[in-house]
Amino acid sequence: MAQLIREIRASYAFVERNFNLVRRYWGWELVWLAYSIASTLSITYIGAGMEAITGVQVDSNYLILYLLIGTMVWRFLAIVFDNISEMIAWERWEDTIEYTFMAPITRFTQMMGQTVFAVIYSLIFTAVILGVVALFFHLDLRNANLVGAAAMLLVGSLSFIGLGIVASVLPLLFPERGAQMTNVIQAVFLLISGVYYPIEVLPAWMQPLARLSPATFVLEGMRATILNGAPTASLWPYMWPLLVAGIVAVPIGLWVFRLGERYAKRTGKLKRNG
């Protein structure tokens, strides 16, 4: 029990530290929020303008909601992924990595703290964007199953946590370019997961790849609940692949990270210089 309390305290250290950093870097947070709101609005306005662009009558409200789900879900998952995958890059930048790695905590404890922060932060950030965007569009959510949508989002974030842990090993192994590599991973997921379009429009060879992305299932499930009001019980076909991906990706991520940490300690890459 005493050990559990120690681990919980240690996990909370990361949550508290990260929220303190958010508070101190408030200017950057404000810039990022403004950028995210503008970006979300720009994408969503494509739906509003589709009729004017094509000259063909389309269900603009449906299209707006379709794009908004894509951009909001992607924003949420990407923030979770970023916060986990970039934790090593942050520590390198602040030059604190050796002190964190010298502390008597397991990597699981560290990841737990980072993950709790990532999910809470992402929920708050996404909710603020949604609140602002809702002022610009009339969102008809009468048929939406919001409970089912929330369940889809939480289950989906589990798999992105695992992917984030796997990706976080890159800045550990490649001090100079590891952080950029995580952006490449994110860009590939953005392309293949049907964030702004159905995956059926992708080239045939790319469509099986889309089925390997957890984001595809989150987006399909979210659209089913919000656009079509699909009941929660009917979401199982979307949920089980996400649960499997999460259950597999998290332990694999921790295992890969442990290997990466050992390699970094053997080759002296934990600290870039000195």
């Binding site: 240690a10 250290a13 950093l21 602040e94 030059d95 010298m102 008597p104 300690k265």
Partner: protein
């Protein structure tokens, strides 16, 4: 003097080398070429430190001091040899060792936008300490180190290097390590800050049950603080004795009393002379 005291640190035949790239190479050209050469950072180093001892390591830049400290601190894996901290093997019982040690390095290494209180509270939580008690201890330690209360709540980036280094010492002391690794803790500090840090180390040595491994470039510091001193050169220990014993090895020098600096120059300068002769 030390025979009956407990062994705090046992470093036995430790070797560590790194492979360094020579210039830029394309990844597919790296195999079987001469672009990567091994550099021996520590070469078969052995010594023991007794409980309660202040053990100094002197050496020129690049002699392997920080690499050795990192190996003890579980941040680097030695290629060969064994490091045992209070009976726990660093490679096999990493977590047990981590609970017993802490380290102060030449760079203060903090989240620069956070305050000393926020940084130290983060550190305390990582070591499983309770927040309320930790806050009181943080204030007490920082006060002892001469930080004003208002400085405790302003960002680290607004502080001088001397103040940052005091906070780094407070971070290490807060977790009450029984083996404290001080890696050039006073390098780059002004004389007053240096003296304050040295006084705190003296206090740790005299009043608390802490064993200290100190690396430094400051010969006077080593002379006044350390029970024994090892001189490291090109990864090898070239001398190990009490400060008085080391001075006795060199004898009188140019009519003045021998200092550790004379010893250091004598033992680490020889190679320079040889290289000059060879050239």
């Amino acid at each position: 003097m030390y025979d009956n005291m407990q062994i705090a640190l046992d470093v036995s035949a430790v070797t560590k080398q790194f492979v360094k790239a020579k210039g830029l190479r394309w990844p597919w050209k790296r195999k079987n070429d001469d672009g990567r050469k091994p550099v021996v950072a520590i070469d078969n180093v052995s010594f023991t430190v007794r409980r309660g001892e202040v053990f100094g390591i002197l050496g020129p830049n690049g002699s392997g001091k920080s690499t050795l400290v990192r190996c003890i601190a579980t941040l680097l894996l030695p290629d060969q040899g064994e490091i045992v901290v209070f009976g726990h093997n660093v490679m096999q019982e990493e977590m047990a060792v981590k609970r017993l040690i802490n380290r102060v390095s030449v760079e203060a290494s903090f989240f620069k936008k956070l305050t000393p209180m926020e940084n130290l509270l983060y550190g305390a939580r990582l070591y499983g300490m309770e927040a309320q008690d930790s806050r009181k201890q943080i204030l007490a330690i920082l006060d002892r180190l001469g930080l004003k209360k208002e400085d405790v709540y302003r960002p680290m980036e607004e502080m001088s290097r001397g103040m940052q280094q005091k906070v780094a010492i407070a971070r290490a002391f807060l977790t009450q390590p029984i083996l404290l690794l001080l890696d050039e803790p006073t390098t780059g500090l002004d004389p007053r800050s240096k003296r304050e840090v040295q006084a705190f180390v003296e206090e740790l040595r005299d009043r608390h049950d802490a064993t200290i491994l100190l690396t430094t470039h400051d010969m006077q510091e080593a002379d006044s603080l350390c029970n024994r001193v090892a001189i490291l050169d090109e990864g090898r220990i070239v001398a190990l004795d009490t400060p008085a014993g080391l001075k006795a090895q060199v004898g009188r020098s140019n009519g003045h009393e021998v200092t550790l600096e004379d010893v250091f120059m004598e033992l680490t300068g020889k190679q320079l002379h040889r290289e000059e002769e060879a050239a």
